[in-house]
Symmetry: D2
Subunit: 160 residues, 4 copies
């Protein structure tokens, strides 16, 4: 059993056609799991639905609390890419004995040509195969929380 | 460095609009890797482009030969789902010391609502994280070659 | 009020993921009208769901009967492209005083990159704007039933 | 020959993945015409690429000038939906003897589930079939410029 904790990010943004803006509504994770014909036993919990640039320390603590409280020892966290590394660091300070994989997307899943489905397949797989620790799964790779940064010029995650 | 060996299957089928049929042309794997913003160092090689129901023993031997000859010790094989388990068995007989992950799709990537991108993200991740052995990555899970079958009623891969 | 008579064709084909074949299930016309935010008052009737290469004279007569019986004087008929011209000729022989527009698609709507949505928008518009007569709306153009053929080399409809 | 004058609007917005915002780059009209297998003889001209809420009187005059200067007597104008009716009114004041059809979209074409392709098929068809005048083609219907408003609650265009 794997927990999927949803926090928002580009991954889950969608287009509000009356306002003409990017906004959040429901998470797309259950629909993505259906599309991927995923048969991993998962529990999806929506913790918050925010842009990671607006994530506060209190938000990060509540994600950490949810990871600590989770009965599952393997956890995927969907997250905006801009501060994903910060949240990974917060989680690494308090977690022990669980495999936690953060992932997200550069393009909203709802926009058709998204990297989200690829990343979700990747994150769920790394969450099953990697030993306890906190990781970021982006660009088809898994990075340890203390050896990763988002290159803001290219939008690509890379080792330090 | 991971080798991706392409053999065809539903994964790569597309619609021939003049004939109104499902056919093969080029593999979609490079386009899928771009969409997934994949930055894993991969070498894509197209071995054949066939429906797995038409795959012969000679075809399976040539896939095994390509795995043996491959300089990469981590290999993803894209394959039709109908006889994926048979090919996995063939590979398991001759391979040693390499991690080989077979994957495919129930819906062609070119058809928009495909499980292919999810499966490719999953297979590439398992190929990086699992120890040497032959596996099938479908439905978000990784199965050992000797503990998996495709349920033909549901289209889902499951343990024996 | 416009009647939309559904007969099948590539327009409505979809992928059967257990069999790996192209088949018919339900028509996609209502979903397409929703996607197009269509607010034209329409009545969708599914007459048959077949490949137009398999359409018999009896099938064509039943389409003609449905057009004659229709209370609406403006009618769109969705149809396979291969024999669309034949059905248009059959309809032209018996119809008077109604605007009938046949349309279809080269790529199934369900496959993501289809011409179907463009053609449906085109056909519904020509059906509202053109005088009584039988027409084919394909490739953004409207052709009179007696001045059109499908070029089988290119898949494009053209004047004689 | 039909002129397609591009001014921007939701129709042509796309997702900037580095900034996480909706922006303009190139127009998608040529790609949409390819997808629709359109064989109407068209000349696509990009006049500006802006949100219609930011359109000034000077912008509207330049659209009117382009319509007046156009050698083609049938013209499609792609436009944001918020002030489409205002631009239609401006065009109606100066145009005579040409068929001008404004259209747009509630969802960007680039986002997969857009009404844009349906609307483009509709607008091009109305532009061919309607007599001289200024019209808005949205929701599968054609409205005269002086009998239409956008309902801001529903996002739907309706008669006065």
């Amino acid at each position: 059993m794997i927990a999927i904790l949803v926090t928002g990010g580009t991954f889950d943004k969608q287009h509000n056609e009356l306002a003409g803006t990017l906004t959040f509504k429901e998470t797309h994770v259950p629909e993505m799991l259906r599309l991927g014909r995923c048969r991993v036993d998962v529990a999806v919990r929506q913790l918050m639905m925010i842009d990671s640039l607006e994530m506060t320390d209190a938000d990060r603590r509540s994600i950490a609390d949810a990871c600590l409280a989770s009965a599952e020892s393997r956890i995927v966290v969907t997250h905006g890419t801009d501060t994903m590394v910060d949240t990974a660091r917060t989680l690494a300070k308090v977690m022990e004995g669980k495999t936690i994989v953060l992932t997200g997307a550069m393009v909203p899943y709802a926009f058709g040509s998204s990297d989200g489905l690829f990343n979700l397949g990747s994150a769920l797989s790394f969450a099953q195969a990697l030993p306890a620790g906190v990781y970021i799964a982006m660009n088809g790779r898994a990075f340890r929380w203390d050896d990763v940064r988002k290159n803001r010029e290219t939008g690509v995650f890379e080792s330090l």
